[in-house]
């Protein structure tokens, strides 16, 4: 399986490339930075007054917005991967014996880096409008860890979708799927308010334990088994994404 072997230098060169390209893609950069902030303001000031979560809504909603932002940013990975496939870049790299894992890792790591920046921005704005997280470095570190795992899993899954799509436009359709997933979860409203059938889904989908972990860790409330569930989901999804993208790459590029 030379396809899946990773060579550190090649992977690093690919990461450098994708980060540079992300930095220069001003439009995408602005969208991925501004959209989450606008969404947060929308939730807090427009819907927030009508939603009763037992605490200030900004406190409740920030973890959800962070995930929304992560999902949105990560989905951009699909578009870059499909673009590389359709413009011949991946073929050039294959004739140079650059492995699939290096190529995809470049996109995934750039996506995680991009999203870390927008996460910090969203958090900054959140604090400015009244979000008061607990001040405890270890818990922050743990929250960052959970978020990074989620970013990694969604980015790699997104890369796999990029290998599936025939055109960059089709790949961008995948954005909606990832954007939608945080809604039927505990991100914006408590799951107890949902009808039973939806609640069953909301409680057992990957986004909910991630949100619950972030919420608990940032606000210094008990997290229970949420971080363990979150880690299991994220690592599981990551494993599926890596294997799936390996298979898709072979099918698509041979």
């Amino acid at each position: 399986m030379s396809e899946l072997a990773i060579r550190p230098t090649q992977a690093m060169v690919m990461v450098g490339r994708c980060v540079r390209l992300s930095r220069r893609n001003i439009d995408a950069m602005l969208t991925s930075l501004l959209l989450p902030v606008i969404l947060m303001l929308l939730f807090v000031y427009l819907f927030g007054g009508a939603i009763d979560t037992g605490s200030a809504y900004v406190t409740y909603v920030v973890p959800g917005v962070l995930l929304l932002c992560a999902g949105f940013g990560a989905a951009g990975t699909a578009i870059s991967v499909t673009t590389d496939l359709t413009n011949g870049m991946i073929e050039r790299l294959r004739t140079m014996d650059v492995g699939a894992t290096s190529i995809l890792a470049g996109h995934v790591v750039a996506s995680v880096a991009r999203n870390s920046v927008s996460t910090v921005l969203v958090l900054g704005v959140a604090v400015a409008i009244g979000f008061r997280p607990a001040v405890e470095p270890l818990r922050w570190l743990a929250a960052a860890g959970v978020l990074l795992m989620f970013l990694l899993a969604v980015s790699w899954l997104s890369a796999a979708f990029g290998l599936l799509a025939r055109t960059p436009e089709a790949a961008s359709g995948y954005t909606f799927l990832v954007m939608f997933l945080p809604y039927p979860s505990s991100a914006f409203v408590p799951v107890e308010t949902m009808p039973d059938w939806l609640r069953g889904f909301a409680e057992n989908q990957p986004v909910t334990p991630v949100i619950e972990s972030l919420r608990g860790l940032l606000l210094d409330t008990p997290v229970g088994s949420a971080p363990a569930h979150a880690a299991a989901w994220c690592l599981g999804l990551l494993a599926v994404a890596v294997v799936l993208s390996g298979l898709l790459f072979r099918r698509r590029v041979a």
């Binding site: 060169v13 450098g16 050039r92 004739t95």
Partner: protein, 321 residues
């Protein structure tokens, strides 16, 4: 390099996509060194051949070796000695010319400083030094193609595949690219290029292989091909349709070219007076059908027409500048 394995060795290569047979038992050999053209119409199988050689497509059956390595079983070794540049100029628009080349040189295994040096040297050589710091998105079509070609040289390959390297370029850029391709071969690299332009094959290639319906129909130098299919053409213009039809009937499939609208047809000849006189007597015994004749050098067009029954030159895509 007498004992070097052939740059390319194909034996009974077959490839179909669904019901469409693209390569139908292609056997050909390209010796090491020089410029070799794979000439054919759209759909003849040129691109598929190059993709198989570049390890991007697997053949259904048959064997394909590049510099002695099997393209399926020894993909890695093949990838170490080849490079591919093509119609699409796969480069990052968002990176500068210099960044594109440094990236590819690093991927080809060069260290950081060596990659920078190689990139700078290539930009200089391909007349792109002034544009080195500009993003590729600002490059003209010709500059992109030159950058693409430079990119294919970062790993110092010994066999380069160029898939229709000048398609869509304006005549001046095409001329510039031809010079560069000539220089590559001068540096000891084997160049295999595909083209549908006879002029390009004639100008550039030491050897021309004509591909038709997925098989090799001719193989030789331009001069050999022209010689083999008649070095000269006797072109005859007829008085009226009746004499034209009569002559066409007499010549049968010896006619190499016919143009009923101009009442003109041509036939192969060696150009010697006795043979031309003999031909005229044979086709026009009453000596009043032919109104004028010319003897001219056969072109690759004539060769192509003879081989494939169809004229090759598609309408040139010339971009106006």
């Amino acid at each position: 390099m007498v004992n070097a394995p052939p740059a390319v060795d194909l034996v009974d290569l077959r490839k179909s996509f669904g019901d469409v047979v693209v390569l139908d038992g292609l056997t050909m050999r390209v010796p090491s060194g020089g410029v070799h053209a794979l000439l054919g119409q759209n759909g003849a199988g040129k691109t598929t051949t190059v993709r198989i050689l570049a390890t991007l497509t697997r053949p259904d059956s048959g064997s394909a070796r590049v510099a002695g390595h099997d393209v399926v079983r020894e993909r890695r070794q093949v990838r170490r000695v080849i490079s591919l540049a093509g119609q699409h100029a796969a480069l990052d628009d968002g990176q500068t010319g210099l960044e594109n080349l440094i990236m590819l040189a690093r991927l080809a295994g060069l260290s950081g400083p060596a990659a920078r040096a190689r990139a700078a040297a290539l930009l200089e050589r391909f007349d792109l030094a002034d544009a080195a710091g500009r993003q590729a998105v600002t490059y003209s079509g010709g500059m992109r193609r030159r950058l693409d070609l430079a990119a294919s040289l970062v790993g110092a390959p010994s066999v380069i595949f160029l898939d229709e390297p000048t398609t869509g370029l304006d005549p001046r850029s095409r001329q510039g690219l031809w010079e560069v391709i000539g220089e590559l071969a001068g540096a000891g690299v084997t160049v295999l290029l595909t083209t549908q332009y006879l002029e390009e094959a004639d100008r550039l290639a030491d050897r021309i292989m004509v591909l038709h319906h997925g098989g090799l129909v001719a193989d030789g130098t331009a001069a050999e091909l022209k010689g083999h299919f008649g070095a000269q053409r006797l072109e005859l213009t007829w008085r009226d349709e009746a004499s034209f039809a009569e002559a066409a009937r007499r010549l049968g499939d010896r006619t190499t070219h016919r143009e009923p609208a101009r009442l003109a047809l041509s036939v192969a000849t060696d150009g010697s007076a006795p043979q031309v006189r003999g031909l005229l007597d044979e086709i026009d015994p009453d000596r009043h059908g032919v109104v004028r004749f010319t003897v001219r050098e056969a072109t690759l067009d004539d060769v192509f027409l003879t081989l494939t029954g169809r004229p090759v030159s598609p309408p040139r895509e010339v971009t106006n500048v």
